[in-house]
Structure formats: structure tokens, C-alpha cells
């Protein structure tokens, strides 16, 4: 018999799943330690690249259980009738956080994270470049304006927690300043040279 061969698959959202996603045992956590760490590498890489592909910022443990979830085509594979459990996703969240590829959001719970498919430092640069390019220096902006710009940007829908982290990084180089406002948070950007 020919060797069993697993093929890549392109999903309905145009994401190319690696061939190992067709492998049933990928959905069962392995007892052998090096296989297990290999498996967690595969999953975390897959989660981050899918998040980047669809611009998904959050991942929750119960995303595995809901067919309507944005994550459905990655956390489960209907072609081979396999899916991760909420428990398994919780474990992967922990791995992501321990590698600084995600942070629990809100803090002090273990079932949902913000994914860092860009590091907060990179988001800080994206944010500042955007402010410069769109002529927003020295004016006060609300978070809402950054998250819902008239012209869609890389920052559209960025979660407030991540936005705050990026701004905090900019404040350290005097390129931004938090403004406490009556209705929601604000920020002012500076050229910083």
C-alpha cells in the first residue's frame, strides 16, 4: 500500500491549513513529552497565523465548542470529524501566554486571551505611524476614533486593552500621552523627535 499522505486544505476564508491539520491525532493531546511540545508548537503557530489572516484579536476556551465561532474551521476539522475541547484550548491559551504570544484579557481569569500576532511594541509603532500619516499629531483622540476610523486601518477594532498597552509603550518615548476624559479614554500623539 502507498504511504498514507496528508494534504493541505484551503478553507472557505482562504486560509491554507497545513497537512497536519488533517491528521486525527493532532486533536488528541499526546502523552510523550517531545511529541506533545511539537504538537503545542503546531497549534500555537496555527492559531497565531489564522488570527493574523482573519485579524482576530481574541480567543476563548469556548470557541472550540461553538460552531458559529470565528475559530471553527481551525479548532475543528469536520472532514475528519475531530475537534478540540474547551479544556484543550484552555491549555493552549496557557502555552501562548507563557510564551508571551498572548495575554489573559481580562486579567485574572484563564479562559480568554488577546493574541499577540503582533507584539504590543509593534502595535505601538503601527499606531504612531498611523497617527503621523493621518495627521493626528497633537490633537486629542478617543479610543473609539482609533478603533473605528473613517478609512479602515490596521487598527480597526483593536481591543482597548491592547490599544492601552501600545499607548503605554509610546508614552515611554514621549510620543503619546493619555488624556483622562469624561466619556471614555483619550490620547494625544506627539512626533517624538
Amino acid at each position: 500500500m502507498e504511504r498514507r499522505r496528508f494534504e493541505t486544505h484551503v478553507t472557505s476564508t482562504g486560509f491554507k491549513l497545513p497537512s497536519i491539520h488533517e491528521f486525527p491525532a493532532l486533536f488528541c493531546f499526546q502523552p510523550f513529552s517531545s511529541a506533545r511540545s511539537n504538537q503545542e508548537d503546531i497549534w500555537t503557530r496555527l492559531i497565531l497565523s489564522y488570527a493574523r489572516h482573519r485579524r482576530l484579536f481574541t480567543l476563548c476556551a469556548d470557541d472550540a465548542e461553538k460552531p458559529s465561532s470565528d475559530w471553527h474551521e481551525v479548532l475543528s476539522n469536520e472532514r475528519i470529524k475531530r475537534k478540540l475541547t474547551g479544556q484543550q484550548v484552555t491549555t493552549l491559551l496557557q502555552t501562548l501566554v507563557s510564551r508571551n504570544q498572548a495575554a489573559y484579557e481580562p486579567p485574572k481569569q484563564l479562559s480568554s486571551v488577546i493574541l499577540y500576532w503582533r507584539k504590543p511594541e509593534e502595535w505601538a509603532e503601527v499606531l504612531h505611524s498611523w497617527a503621523v500619516a493621518t495627521g493626528q499629531l497633537n490633537t486629542i483622540m478617543t479610543f473609539y476614533e482609533i478603533q473605528n476610523p473613517a478609512i479602515e486601518s490596521d487598527l480597526t477594532d483593536i481591543p482597548s486593552g491592547l490599544l492601552r498597552r501600545a499607548i503605554t509603550i509610546l508614552t515611554k518615548t514621549q510620543r503619546a500621552q493619555f488624556i483622562e476624559g469624561g466619556d471614555g479614554d483619550g490620547v494625544r500623539f506627539f512626533s517624538g523627535n
Binding site: M1, R3, R4, R5, F6, E7, T8, P18, S19, I20, F23, P24, A25, L26, F27, C28, Q30, P31, F32, S34, A35, S37, N38, Q39, K81, R82
Partner: protein
């Protein structure tokens, strides 16, 4: 020189020949010494150069390529450090090509080890090697013209792999070729594969990689406990299998990684 006659002349002639031989010996030794010292000077300079430009060599691929080309021409590996270990060719009797292939074999075996527990099928290894070397493989150009000789573009053969693995022996890395049934596999971990595991590998290879205790017991004519024990050793001790507990065929099935192929 007057040509003498008699025994004395014969003796003198013999002495002459001897002294000529000594002279020529010492002359060629001298030139050999000079050559040797020139060569070692050259090597020292080359190492100096390598040390000086180490960063550049690491960062700039073009610079690295031409530098390595120059080095391999004269049998020096300056990147291997200051010890004598740098002289690959001398130490291991490897040509540059063989050495390079050896490194790539190690690269692939180590890279796949976490997944397959250190066992890889020869065909699969050759396929990955070809991929790494940018050689079109049988299945990558199957869509195009058919029946093209694979030798065209420096294809890797099983023989090349066998020879490279042999030259890796002095490194003590434990690379070995083992026959499992009709298949050849390359093992990159120093571990004894027992008879039961070999039997299971053979069964798995013949039916597409997925096995479970009842199936193995039936095929090998073993009691089920023996199959369970052997499979658990492969799974838990040697990392040769991945398990799946959602399969329809059995509560737990075992996938033997080294007989699977991931695109």
C-alpha cells in the same frame, strides 16, 4: 668523470648513486617543507580572515557562498572553530558534497525527531532532501511531463544517503539504516528497536500507518496484552507513535509517525 673499471669502480659508482639519491631526497624534503609551511601559513591567514569577517560571513549569503566555495576548494572549514575539528575532509574523508548531504540528513532527521521519534523512512528522507536541495521530485512535477529521468538535476539516490550516513559514523550520532520488512528506515536515535516494534512498524506500513491492539494481535498472532505492551512502549517510551482517542475503530488508535507523509 673517468669511467673506471673493476670492482673498486663499481663500488664508487654505487656510492655516487647513493649520494645523488640522498641529495634528491633532501631537496624534495626541503621543497615539501616549504610547501607545508606555506600551506599552514595560508591556512592560518585564512582562519584569521574568517575570524575577522565572521559576522559578515554569517549575515551576507553571497559573501558566505563565495567564501565557502573558496574554502572548500582547499579543504578548509573555517566556521568550525579553531580546533583541528575544522578540517572536515581530512578527518572524515568526506568530499564537500558528501559532507553537505550529511549535514542535510542530520538537519532533517533532527527536525522531524520530535514528530516521529527518530525513525524516518528512506523514501521520505530522500523526498525531503530533494525538497531541501530544490530538486524537483517525482510527485512535484507529476503534473507536468512524465517519465523524466530523475538523474537530470543531481537527484539524491539511496546510495548517496547510505554513504553519507556511513561517513557520519565517526561523529557517534548513532545514525543507522535498519530494514523493517521490505522497507528501509533511517534511525537517528541510539535506541534498540525490539522485534515486536519492528513487527508493528511493518504492519503499520502495510496498512497506512494506523494500528490498534486487536488489529496488531490478529495480524501478528499475539495475545492482545503483548500488542498493548508493545504499542505503549512505542507511544510512551520511544515517541514513535501518536495516539488518537476519537477514532471509530478502537477506543485508542496508534499512528506510527515514520510511515506517514505530510505534504
Amino acid at each position: 668523470m673517468r669511467r673506471g673499471v673493476g670492482l673498486a669502480a663499481f663500488e664508487r659508482h654505487k656510492a655516487d648513486i647513493q649520494s645523488y639519491a640522498t641529495l634528491s631526497d633532501s631537496l624534495s624534503r626541503q621543497s615539501l617543507d616549504t610547501l607545508q609551511s606555506q600551506l599552514s601559513q595560508f591556512r592560518a591567514k585564512l582562519k584569521e580572515f574568517a575570524a575577522l569577517h565572521r559576522e559578515e560571513i554569517r549575515k551576507n549569503p553571497e559573501f558566505r557562498a563565495s567564501f565557502q566555495q573558496m574554502c572548500t576548494n582547499i579543504g578548509v572549514d573555517p566556521l568550525a572553530g579553531p580546533q583541528k575539528g575544522g578540517w572536515w575532509a581530512e578527518l572524515l574523508g568526506m568530499g564537500d558534497w558528501q559532507y553537505e548531504l550529511g549535514v542535510q540528513i542530520v538537519d532533517i532527521c533532527v527536525g522531524k525527531r520530535e514528530q516521529n521519534g527518530g525513525m524516518i523512512e528512506m523514501d521520505e528522507l530522500i523526498r525531503l532532501l530533494s525538497q531541501l536541495r530544490g530538486i524537483p521530485t517525482a510527485d512535484s512535477d507529476s503534473s507536468g511531463s512524465t517519465g523524466k529521468a530523475p538523474q537530470d538535476v543531481g537527484a539524491i539516490t539511496e546510495d548517496d544517503v547510505l554513504r553519507s550516513i556511513k561517513t557520519l559514523k565517526p561523529l557517534g550520532a548513532g545514525y543507522e539504516v535498519v530494514n523493517i520488512g521490505s522497507r528501509r528506515m533511517v534511525r537517528s536515535v541510539v535506541k534498540e528497536l525490539d522485534m515486536d516494534q519492528a513487527t508493528i512498524l511493518d504492519i503499520a506500513a502495510s496498512i497506512g500507518g494506523k494500528v490498534w491492539p486487536d488489529l496488531v494481535a490478529g495480524a501478528a498472532n499475539w495475545p492482545v496484552e503483548r500488542a498493548v505492551a508493545a504499542l505503549d512502549n512505542m507511544l510512551l517510551r520511544d515517541g514513535l507513535c501518536w495516539m488518537d482517542d476519537q477514532d471509530e475503530d478502537a477506543p485508542v488508535v496508534y499512528w506510527v509517525m515514520s510511515v506517514l507523509q505530510f505534504e
